[in-house]
């Protein structure tokens, strides 16, 4: 989604009512962030919004990116935020062989998750399509990709191929390298 560098663009302050709405929406989508919400979105801090290409928007506080929101989807936490609160969103794991493809912006395919190095949650913790997940990598501690799942985890297990996530935000993409000063 953000393969290209993002040109510096205008940003504007967010109305406090909109900020409240966003906060509400965040807590609905990510119950995992609830304990930290005061730290992420303090009531006092002035939230700013930056326009990104493809009609996406990015929410920032003090030039630190927090969430970006595609035109038609839920807000997705920026990777730096995921790194700060790794337990807040569910994660899957890909094998080592897939890392280099992910970090160059390829769509995530099922074999990277179903192979021995990958990890998918059990049936009772299954994640539905449309949810936002972080993708960890075999042998690494940090999340390297966040995005919306295209297929449920049970589907992935049974099919074993096909697209799992496209248009994610990965380490080293335009959004990661964005300059906000």
């Amino acid at each position: 989604m953000f393969k290209k560098e993002i040109p510096p663009s205008n940003r504007s302050k967010v109305k406090s009512s909109v900020a409240r709405g966003l906060r509400q929406r965040l807590l609905e989508t990510y119950p995992g962030f609830e304990p930290y919400i005061e730290e992420i979105l303090p009531k006092k801090a002035s939230l700013e919004v930056v326009k990104l290409p493809e009609r996406a928007t990015l929410y920032t506080i003090d030039s630190t990116p927090l969430f970006f929101q595609p035109f038609d989807g839920p807000p997705i936490p920026h990777l730096k935020l995921v790194h700060k609160f790794p337990s807040a969103i569910p994660t899957l794991q890909i094998d080592r062989g897939a890392i280099r493809f992910v970090l160059s912006g390829a769509t995530l395919m099922a074999p990277g998750l179903t192979s021995p190095g990958g990890r998918l949650p059990d049936a009772e913790h299954a994640i539905e399509a449309g949810q936002v997940v972080g993708i960890k990598a075999e042998g690494k501690e940090e999340v390297c990709l966040v995005g919306v799942l295209k297929a449920g985890t049970e589907d992935i297990k049974s099919k074993g191929k096909g697209v799992v996530m496209d248009e994610g935000h990965y380490l080293g993409d335009g959004l990661w390298n964005i300059h906000l000063d």
């Binding site: 700060k84 890392i99 280099r100 690494k140 080293g172 390298n177």
Partner: protein, 195 residues
């Protein structure tokens, strides 16, 4: 990586993650960034305990054992290619920087009135829009980014301030802009008041 830093007075629950100073990724992903060698050096200098953990013999061999040999070779080849490309890019960039001149032009607008046009700052890693704003503040004149007929962006400052712009550039952005690359040009060579 797991060292927890106090990041705020309230609820210091955020983890503090170290990012590589060269490629900005978390250090464990440096090998995929294309500048692995430099990253390793940086990490060794700045975060030695982390370096010990990531680049020790065992860690490296553990990494390799999880992949098949043929895949390993391919990965290594890929990484080498990427690295070469990055190095090449950097070299080209440096060359371009050395070759490209920043032109400060004095353009006659209306007999005795002039505007100063600055071209070529973006090659040296400066942002036209920001510099324009700063220039406007500095000289208390209008200053804007305009598109030149050839499609490139240039800064137009009202008034004849070419000498001052040069001085100011060297003063403020001296580290980014070599003096030899700044050219003063007078568009209309009617009188040579300066020099």
């Amino acid at each position: 990586m797991t060292d927890v830093a106090e990041s705020g007075p309230l609820e210091p629950q955020a983890r503090h993650v170290v990012y590589c100073g060269v490629c900005t990724l978390p250090p464990e992903f440096c090998e995929f960034g294309g500048t692995a060698k430099k990253c390793e050096e940086w990490l060794k200098e700045n975060q030695s305990d982390l370096w010990n953990r990531l680049y020790s013999e065992e860690a490296l061999s553990a990494n390799l054992s999880t992949l098949k040999v043929s895949v390993q070779e391919r990965v290594a080849k890929d990484a080498a290619k990427k690295e070469a490309k990055a190095a090449q890019n950097e070299a080209r960039d440096a060359e371009r920087k050395a070759a490209s001149k920043i032109q400060i032009k004095r353009v006659e607008r209306n007999k005795r009135k002039y505007v100063t046009v600055v071209i070529g700052l973006e090659v040296h890693g400066l942002e036209n829009k920001k510099v324009a704003k700063e220039l406007g503040k500095k000289f208390a004149t209008g200053s804007s980014v305009t598109k030149s007929p050839s499609g490139t962006e240039e800064i137009t400052v009202q008034g004849d301030v070419s000498e001052d712009v040069k001085e100011w550039l060297l003063d403020v952005y001296g580290s980014k802009v070599p003096e030899a690359n700044i050219e003063l040009i007078e568009d209309k060579k009617k009188k040579k008041a300066e020099a």
